[in-house]
């Protein structure tokens, strides 16, 4: 046994143990990407660096064996900076989108490429689940959303963008979506206004177990959706369908309810665990209740709280929103806050500008070449077949491993910036699809060589090989053979071990 100190904790481990393993066994977490026990490719990524307290030297912990009397610091400011630098250097040589540009430009951050894939596979029931994760009213928004996502769509560089908004509508059109029954938590919420904000809030809060009472000043539910938007744009029938869905979840609507001081005193005050004001653009004055300014109700932007505790405000009543989808997004955020659902820390996103000419055919490898069907009537929308065809036009810009990528996770953790070392020109994306279930995107590779080592040590068919050296080194199938012939027995292990989205499962 070897005795050493890690972060002042004295530990004993068998000789030959690496510092990485010793630290982990002592409960200290050290990030690593290229390291996999039993493989011999490491060290490469250098994110697992630690410091020797005695001489200040810095080295990768995955490859340094423990030594008697060592005194190791697993993380301090200097180490954090080195890790961040190594991530930023890797990111400067990593091309690809984590999340697709459409998803990033969607205020509700809806997973559009996944929806497209599911529609393309005629799986509308699954598709609407994805949509409703973020958007409570897809049927309605499928008529009125200005679709900023389509403006960001990379398909625009080839021909017209994917018709995302109509596809979203089609998921509501062609599915019988039943919301799961939620156990009530006994808490009641009052919502003032039944427009996009009020309805969206009611939807999510009901799902989270709250019981919502929605107060509407007009005779019928829907706010501006019903009274300001024409039948040619949004048929009332559609509005009613989605209101019906929210009623089914257990929300109660009270129309012709004028929200004024006496109403508040009698009907609301002390009766609810929270009050949400979401009346939309309103001429009404709320200064009798909460602080207001020239835009509307003043809120804390982090938690939507007004100047009074337990009173929230959301949507255009705070500041006029040009897009319904933005209000819908705010509604979901607020519902999460009230339900105390931890919204994830803003995740790192690898992004890049336009596709180059050479990249277009690479992206078309998993798409179709036809242009958007421009003969679709707004009120009719897609037929099932048309929706499927349109969904197949998606270029799937998002990374298949965006939720299982160590490079992304650590970049988030160490606040790495993608553009710190954007000095030269970027590499051009390539996509290799000659395997039944593996796709290889070489420009996402961080050259750690895990796949090369796994395929070689487990004697897989052709295996993979490093070609070249230095900055130009890349992982390739020998003699430009097919990936199918290279990875047979180890394909899944290689995908799973790949710390980035370079090797991924196709579906």
């Amino acid at each position: 046994m070897v005795e050493l100190k890690i972060n002042d904790k004295i530990i004993q481990v068998p000789a030959g143990t690496t510092i990485l393993e010793a630290a982990r066994s002592a409960g200290f977490s050290i990030p690593s990407m290229c390291y996999l026990k039993g493989q011999s490719n490491h060290p490469s990524c250098m994110i697992c660096v630690v410091k020797d307290r005695k001489n200040g030297s810095i080295f990768p912990s995955c490859a340094m064996p423990v030594n008697e009397g060592m005194d190791i610091i697993s993380e301090d400011d200097e180490i954090r900076d080195m890790r961040k630098q190594s991530l930023e250097l890797l990111l400067s040589d990593h091309v690809g989108d984590c999340e697709a540009p459409c998803q990033l430009s969607c205020p509700a951050h809806m997973d559009i490429p996944l929806m497209n894939r599911l529609i393309g596979a005629n799986k509308f029931e699954e598709a609407i689940r994805i949509v409703k994760n973020d958007i409570a009213l897809p049927f309605i928004l499928g008529y009125i959303c200005p679709a900023p996502c389509e403006n960001a769509c990379r398909r625009k560089q080839i021909n017209a963008p994917v018709s995302i908004c109509l596809l979203k509508r089609s998921t509501a059109q062609f599915s019988n979506f039943e919301e799961p029954k939620t156990k009530p938590n006994g808490k009641k919420i009052a919502i003032i206004g039944s427009g996009v904000a009020g309805l969206s809030l009611a939807y999510f809060l009901q799902l989270y177990g709250f019981s919502c009472d929605i107060f509407e000043k007009n005779k019928e539910i829907g706010g501006s959706l019903r009274y300001d938007i024409s039948e040619e744009i949004l048929p009332k029938r559609i509005l009613d369908i989605e209101i019906e869905g929210i009623k089914k979840l257990g929300a109660s609507f009270y129309c012709s309810s004028d929200f004024n001081p006496s109403f508040y005193e009698e009907k609301i005050k002390n009766r609810y665990s929270a009050l949400i004001i979401s009346t939309g653009v309103s001429t009404q004055d709320f200064s009798w209740l909460v602080e207001v300014d020239k835009n509307g109700i003043v809120i804390n932007e982090k938690n939507f709280l007004t100047s009074v505790s337990n009173i929230y405000a959301c949507g255009s009543v705070v500041k006029k929103q040009k897009m319904a989808i933005r209000t819908a997004a705010h509604a979901k955020q607020l519902a999460n806050i009230i339900a105390n659902i931890q919204t994830e820390k803003k995740q790192f996103n690898s992004r890049f500008a336009k596709l180059t000419k050479a990249e277009l055919p690479e992206y078309l490898k998993e798409s179709v070449s036809n242009n958007r069907n421009n003969s679709i009537d707004h009120l009719t929308g897609f037929s099932i077949q048309e929706a499927i065809e349109e969904a197949k036009r998606c270029l799937h810009c998002d990374c298949r491993k965006k939720d299982a990528c160590k490079l992304r996770d650590y970049s988030t953790l160490y606040s790495a910036q993608q553009n710190s070392y954007n000095i030269g020109s970027r590499k051009e994306m390539t996509k290799q699809f000659d395997h039944s279930f593996v796709v290889y995107e070489a420009e996402k590779c961080i050259r750690c060589g895990l796949c090369v080592d796994i395929a070689s040590s487990e004697k897989d068919a052709l295996g993979l090989t490093f070609i070249g050296r230095g900055f130009n080194v890349r992982v390739q199938v020998p003699f430009n053979a097919k990936l199918e012939d290279a990875l047979k027995t180890t394909a899944l292990k290689c995908i799973e071990s790949c710390p980035t989205g370079a090797l991924a499962k196709i579906i």
Binding site: P43, P60, M64, L89, Y421, F471
Partner: protein
């Protein structure tokens, strides 16, 4: 080529070329030797036959620069881009060759498949830079206006029938004395081979029978080709910078012809010579060795020869001469009179530190290996000298093979090893050849093999040719490459002394380190220790090149000042230019400015000045050299030679280089300097091996001493006009209208206007510098 033939041939190669299991590089070298590239079919057959994985075969074939996966042209043009060649315009020469042969940017072979052009790290002929090697023939001082001539000369040499001069029957009376001619790589490139050929012809013509001795490098590269005539009882005569057509005169002067009329003529010439004294041969420099004022004497003054002992006096492959000068006595002494511990003690006492760069104490290294318990231990002589601008190891290997063999054998005895490997880079064919022959001679003489000199000690040596990867000079990468892997360094510990080649304790010493060992044993540790400074003992061999009057291989005591090297030994700066800096230690080292000229060179002082000893390349820079360009040059070298394993080196050096490129082309901003410096420190701190850890040194040291030059570039001006992206060419009114520049311009940027002042069209100009070089009146200038 028929598939069947390739398979059969590959079978033969596998059967003969792979004696040791796992050694992939020699196998691929043998295949490439056969086809001048690696045919896919042959590689597949190697896999099928040997079971070596594709990732190993292709990983290696694409890692080392030596290997080609596509057929090459009939002849290979290697343009040396080592430091000395770089500062003398090798980049422009490379471009000029490509233009002349009409090779486009994405290709390396001309349309007829006659020539393939490539850049090589360093051919080690720095004193005659820029150097170009076409097949086996080396051309020195090739400038952009001499491309056509060089290729023509090469073709002519190809056409020339090899005239075999047969020695006549030995009825002639043999003359006493001998003629010595240096035949190091530099000498040959400077024309020594032609001189030797002419010498043999002349001896035959004049019916003179005398010993002609090919000696190793004399080190006086600035004076070659050199011929020495030694006759008993007479002062030796030195002839420097001779041309073949002068040889006959020299022979006639010194030797009597057996032919009577010839004899009379000779007497006449003798008298004539005495009258004219040194003026004959007219264009040649003749030196009296006792004259203290000659350039030769000044060059040698202040040098101490230990590694280069008896320089110019020995035929490198003449074992008897080496023995006459005391060779192998140290080994004999070690085997008979000393035990391994005593030897290690002596080396420790001498204070010898590794001459490969890092300067680790040699005795301690020996001790570690000696103390390691294992059934087998290896000793490796590291001759993978890859620094651009360094050629010490090549010279030592070519000129003193027996001394190095003696050194490694003593090291092996001390460390308890029975197996040694010479690892020599493939770009040094002559060194490989000489070591191979010398090893064979030692086996024949009982100096290698079982029971050496009737002792109980057995030692076997094999030779491994590196395949072109600078990083393999790093010991763990070197080991990986012998083991048949990509040359990736690994993290130490464990050190090779504990677990090295095939996981056995391995002692790795640099060529020069081993060359010093026999002297230390024979003269004693104290004698060695008395030379040098407090922390750096003995001598250091430097390859002195660049903008200096007398470049060459020098061996000087540690502690000598930069001033003494540059101005006394080197004779000052060429063309009366101003001394600006020395670059020492190659891509791992740094630049020391003229203001620190009194720095006494040892391990510590160089490190303090921001440079390092490195392996001993010493390039002198003058006022016309751009320090930013020099730093960029070294960085581009290490970036290109990075193995690609760790992020900091692979990506970090690339991003640094991009910043440097921006600076050199006027695209950088002032805050890029801070970014460059920060990144440099990160790469230095975070890289796994010595290559990455030292790669930022040239940038950091120039930022330290020449920051104003960086700032000038950012402000849009390269002060020396070296950065081609920032300069324009102009013709001044000094132009005499000779039209030479018009004929040289490869892109027709100068119109033909005889007798008038010419004008360069900046739009068309590609800054190839050809016009400036050809202009007889220096009317072409850059702004």
């Amino acid at each position: 080529m028929k598939a069947e033939d390739i398979i059969n041939k590959t079978d033969e190669i596998i059967a003969s070329a792979s004696p040791i299991q796992g050694q992939v590089i020699p196998l691929l070298q043998a295949i490439q030797k056969e086809y001048n590239y690696l045919p896919e079919l042959a590689l597949q057959h190697v896999h099928n036959k040997t079971g070596i994985s594709y990732s190993t075969i292709l990983g290696i074939a694409t890692f080392y620069s030596q290997f080609r996966l596509h057929p090459a042209g009939k002849h290979i043009i290697k343009v040396c881009v080592g430091t000395a060649c770089h500062v003398k315009g090798a980049g422009l020469v490379f471009d000029a060759f490509k233009r002349h042969l009409k090779i486009d940017a994405h290709s390396d072979t001309d349309q007829d498949g006659l020539f393939t052009i490539e850049k090589v790290a360093c051919l080690g002929c720095c004193t005659i830079a820029p150097v170009v090697q076409i097949d086996e023939i080396t051309f020195g001082k090739v400038s952009t206006d001499k491309i056509k001539d060089t290729l023509e000369e090469f073709i002519n040499l190809q056409l020339q029938e090899t005239t075999n001069i047969k020695t006549t029957s030995t009825t002639l009376k043999k003359e006493a004395g001998e003629i010595r001619i240096g035949l190091g790589s530099c000498c040959v490139a400077s024309g020594s081979a032609e001189v030797k050929k002419e010498l043999e012809a002349s001896l035959l013509r004049n019916r003179v029978q005398v010993d002609v001795k090919q000696v190793g490098c004399v080190g006086v590269c600035n004076q070659v080709p050199m011929l020495e005539i030694h006759k008993p009882g007479k002062k030796p005569a030195f002839y420097a910078k001779i041309r073949p057509d002068e040889v006959n005169k020299i022979i006639k002067k010194h030797f009597r012809s057996s032919n009577i009329t010839q004899h009379l003529k000779n007497s006449f010439y003798d008298t004539f010579d005495r009258i004219l004294e040194r003026d004959i041969p007219i264009s040649t420099s003749f030196y009296d060795p006792n004259d203290k004022d000659t350039p030769l004497a000044a060059f040698l003054d202040g040098q101490i020869s230990i590694a280069t002992e008896n320089r110019g006096e020995m035929d490198p492959l003449d074992l008897n001469t080496y023995k006459q000068f005391g060779g192998f006595k140290s080994l004999l002494h070690c085997l008979r009179k000393m035990n391994p511990d005593q030897i290690i003690e002596e080396i420790l006492k001498s204070g010898l530190r590794g001459r490969g760069g890092a300067g680790f104490e040699t005795g301690r290294k020996w001790k570690f290996v000696s103390q390691a318990q294992a059934d087998k231990k290896y000793v490796i002589c590291n001759g993978d000298e890859g620094d651009p601008g360094a050629f010490m190891d090549r010279m030592l290997l070519e000129s003193y093979p027996f001394r190095i063999i003696e050194g490694i054998t003593i090291a092996a005895f001390a460390a308890g090893s029975n197996e040694g490997i010479f690892y020599i880079r493939a770009e040094y064919p002559l060194a490989v050849k000489r070591i191979r022959e010398a090893v064979n001679k030692c086996y024949d003489a009982g100096l290698l093999g079982n029971n050496i000199l009737n002792s109980n000690f057995s030692f076997h040596i094999s030779i491994f040719e590196g395949a072109g990867a600078f990083v393999c000079g790093e010991e763990t990468a070197l080991i990986a490459s012998i083991e048949g892997k990509r040359g990736l360094p690994r993290l130490r510990p464990p050190y090779p002394a504990q677990s090295g080649l095939y996981e056995k304790p391995t002692l790795i010493n640099n060529v020069e380190t081993l060359a010093l060992v026999p002297w230390i044993i024979s003269k004693g540790a104290d004698a060695f220790k008395n030379i040098g400074t407090q922390n750096s003992k003995g001598t250091k061999v430097f390859a002195l090149a660049g903008k200096i009057n007398r470049g060459g291989l020098i061996e000087v005591p540690m502690g000598i000042s930069i001033k003494k090297i540059v101005f006394d030994i080197g004779g000052g700066i060429q063309n009366n230019k101003k001394f600006k800096a020395i670059q020492i230690g190659g891509p791992s080292g740094g630049c020391i400015p003229a203001s620190l000229i009194d720095t006494e060179i040892d391990y510590q002082s160089l490190a303090q000045a921001g440079a390092m000893m490195g392996s001993g390349g010493l390039i002198v820079l003058d006022e016309t050299d751009c320090m930013v360009d020099i730093a960029r040059y070294f960085l581009s070298f290490t970036q290109d030679q990075s193995c690609g394993r760790c992020t900091f080196c692979r990506v970090g050096t690339t991003r640094m280089l991009e910043i440097m490129d921006n600076i050199c082309s006027g695209k950088a901003e002032m805050n890029d300097l801070q970014k460059l410096e920060d990144l440099a420190l990160i790469v230095k701190k975070g890289s796994i091996c010595g290559l990455g850890k030292t790669a930022p040194n040239p940038v950091l040291s120039t930022l330290k001493y020449f920051r104003e030059e960086y700032e000038a570039h950012i402000n849009g001006k390269c002060p020396t006009g070296k950065c081609t992206a920032m300069i324009e060419y102009f013709i001044t009114n000094d132009c005499i209208g000779c039209t030479k520049c018009v004929q040289q311009c490869p892109v027709d940027a100068i119109s033909f206007m005889p007798q008038e002042v010419h004008i360069i069209d900046s739009e068309k100009c590609i800054q190839c510098d050809a016009c400036r070089q050809i202009c007889p009146v220096d009317a072409v200038i850059t702004k």
